[in-house]
């Protein structure tokens, strides 16, 4: 496979949910790409559509939801419209997923070895003994002590951090080309978060695995991702390399997000917040969805802004980018 074919390429992806109140557009024209071995941080607040984007890629959007238009290309192959059995062969083998809450993702009544070997045997014809051996090695790689004994344990005998390690080990079993991580550290405390991040970063870079890391936590992205895409109300509003976007945010939503991170310098001052709330997908403002909360909005914003390239390597969906950021970039 040549290097110029990205591992994942989304073009104008739309995912809708048919509800009684109308069609709910959770993902509204997302375009992004993840190169081989690249880590893309997909950042946004709750309800911005970032998780739905992840589930759309892996084909796990259940009715009443559906991918209504757009294209999802994995290693150059179109996934939209692929029949379910074909998708199933990709899932877990070439594209793996890690979920948010490790307390909920493992089946409480099945042993760890069952849940690991079934993943191997769903895709390869190998003996149970061989599958077990590989599972044990995978547990060892994610830093679980005495993996042989732990294989026979049940999920409730593990802590949250250890369970997420097991989930990561399961995701890594087939050396997938892409791992979609849906806020995998959100439910963990900070020290465990750091450990999990270190494990994933090490294993992904060793194997050249691409990562789509979905999170609302900018500090996680800062340390892990190569590039960052900021999502708001179902659209990507800004993207670029992590350093460029975090140091010189152009979109006022990105600025608001960065400004909302509490830091020591702000002691004694009121915490900064973005005014208002994420608009419901049922009644988003026409034009730029952020304009009702944006300090720079004017009548021009009532028209949908196109995605522009203000400087090479950056993409932006805004008529009034922050001037100082433009100068700095």
């Amino acid at each position: 496979m040549s290097d110029d074919v990205p591992t994942l390429e989304l073009r104008d992806l739309h995912t809708d949910f048919d509800t009684r109140a109308g069609v709910l557009r959770a993902v509204d024209g997302v375009t992004l790409s993840v190169g081989r071995g690249e880590v893309l941080g997909l950042v946004g607040e709750s309800g911005s559509g970032k998780s739905v984007t992840g589930f759309s890629i892996i084909g796990l959007i259940d009715p009443p939801g559906r991918v209504s238009s757009g294209s999802i290309k994995f290693q150059g192959r179109e996934l939209v419209g692929l029949p379910e059995p074909e998708l199933r062969r990709l899932r877990g083998r070439h594209i793996a997923m890690i979920f948010q809450d490790p307390m909920m993702t493992l089946n409480p009544v099945l042993r760890i070895d069952t849940q690991m070997t079934e993943t191997i045997q769903a895709h390869e014809r190998v003996s149970t003994a061989e599958a077990r051996r590989r599972s044990r090695d995978a547990l060892g790689q994610v830093g679980i002590p005495s993996p042989e004994e732990r294989l026979s344990a049940y999920p409730h005998q593990f802590s949250g951090g250890m369970r997420q390690r097991v989930a990561i080990a399961i995701a890594l079993l087939h050396n997938p080309a892409l791992i979609i991580a849906d806020e995998p550290t959100t439910a963990l405390d900070v020290t465990i978060q750091a450990q999990i991040l270190a494990v994933v970063q090490k294993l992904a870079s060793e194997r050249g695995t691409s990562l789509l890391w979905i999170t609302h936590d900018l500090s996680v992205v800062a340390g892990l991702a190569d590039r960052i895409a900021v999502m708001y109300a179902g659209r990507i509003v800004e993207s670029g390399s992590v350093d460029a976007v975090l140091d010189h945010p152009m979109h006022h939503y990105t600025r608001g997000l960065i400004g909302s991170v509490p830091s020591r310098n702000q002691r004694g001052h009121k915490l900064v917040q973005i005014p208002g709330m994420t608009p419901s997908p049922l009644n988003r403002p026409a034009g730029c969805a952020f304009r009702t909360r944006c300090p720079a909005a004017d009548s021009a914003c009532e028209v949908e802004p196109e995605l522009i390239v203000p400087v090479p390597g950056r993409e932006l969906r805004c008529f009034h980018p922050a001037p100082d950021a433009l100068v700095a970039a």
Binding site: D101, V109, A122
Partner: protein
């Protein structure tokens, strides 16, 4: 338990009046009363009963003049095979239909199953039983309507389930007995499976690329079996204890039929022996359920 049964059976009526012939003289009646020990005060009768019970003797039937316990035991096999058939039928059918209903929530298949289960829960056994006898036993003539079929002994167990004729006889009563239970199991399985299907672990299982068969057959089914075990266990006790109606309709020679006949003639020792047996059965079933629970649910039991 034994005290409650003893006293309440005493309160039902005087068996002597039924036992003696209508032409009996007062002297004859008194003789019968003394012979059965019914002239003694109640507390003394109870103590005597307890003393004998501890030695495994629950008294003799007034009618059959056999030990009550062995009389009940002799009918136990027939009831047990009926209850087991009903249990097997209702769990297999109930779990299968319940899973289908969970997978087809909202469409006509799911709705039909749920509607049928409501009917199954609300139709009274005696009515359904009579209907089945009329329809399959009499009009169509496909299946024998009453009685127990030929028995055969296999591995030391004598049962009518080992012969063709016996199986043909057991189908109708077992279906009647299983009806309410099947409906209950369908509903429990469905609600459990619907919940499991929406859980994160099923989503994760799908993200692993597992086949739908594996997800439903292993991940969902095992989660559903845990709450189901408790109910099925208790229901089994109910099947044995309350097969009374079914056995009466089909003239099935089991414990239920025996107890109805015994109550009619106030055969106290048999009634007491039967109720003691049923109580013991419930205790045993609960123990088995607890043990099964440990085998099924890793979160129960000592932690390692």
């Amino acid at each position: 338990m034994s005290l409650i049964v003893f006293v309440s059976v005493y309160a039902i009526g005087d068996p002597v009046e039924i036992l003696v012939s209508p032409q009996a003289t007062i002297k004859e009646i008194e003789q019968t009363r003394v012979a059965l020990g019914l002239d003694q005060p109640l507390w003394w009768q109870y103590l005597l009963f307890l003393g004998h019970a501890l030695q495994g003797d629950l008294g003799r039937s007034f009618i059959f003049h056999q030990p009550a316990l062995s009389l009940v035991f002799s009918r136990f096999g027939a009831t047990l095979e009926l209850a087991l058939s009903a249990l097997l039928l209702s769990t297999m059918l109930g779990i299968a239909l319940g899973l289908v209903a969970a997978l087809r929530v909202g469409d006509w298949v799911g709705r039909t199953i749920m509607a049928a289960s409501i009917a199954g829960l609300s139709l009274p056994t005696f009515w359904v039983g009579t209907l089945l006898v009329m329809f399959f036993g009499i009009w169509l003539g496909w299946l024998p309507a009453i009685g127990r079929g030929e028995v055969a002994t296999f591995l030391g167990i004598t049962s009518s389930l080992f012969t063709r004729d016996g199986l043909a006889h057991v189908i109708l009563p077992a279906s009647t007995l299983a009806l309410g239970n099947t409906a209950l199991i369908i509903r429990l399985t469905r609600s459990g499976a619907v919940e499991a299907l929406q859980s994160d672990y099923v989503r994760f299982a799908r993200a692993k690329g597992l086949s739908p068969t594996r997800i439903v057959g292993v991940h969902v089914l095992k989660s559903v079996l845990i709450p189901l075990t408790t109910i099925v266990g208790l229901e089994f006790g109910g099947l044995v204890a309350f097969s009374v109606v079914t056995e009466t309709i089909y003239a099935w020679p089991g414990m239920g039929k025996l107890i109805v006949d015994s109550i009619a003639v106030l055969d106290r020792p048999v009634i007491v022996a039967y109720l003691m047996m049923v109580a013991l059965l419930f205790v045993v079933i609960n123990l088995v359920v607890d043990l099964l629970y440990r085998a099924l649910d890793p979160r129960v039991g000592p932690h390692t």
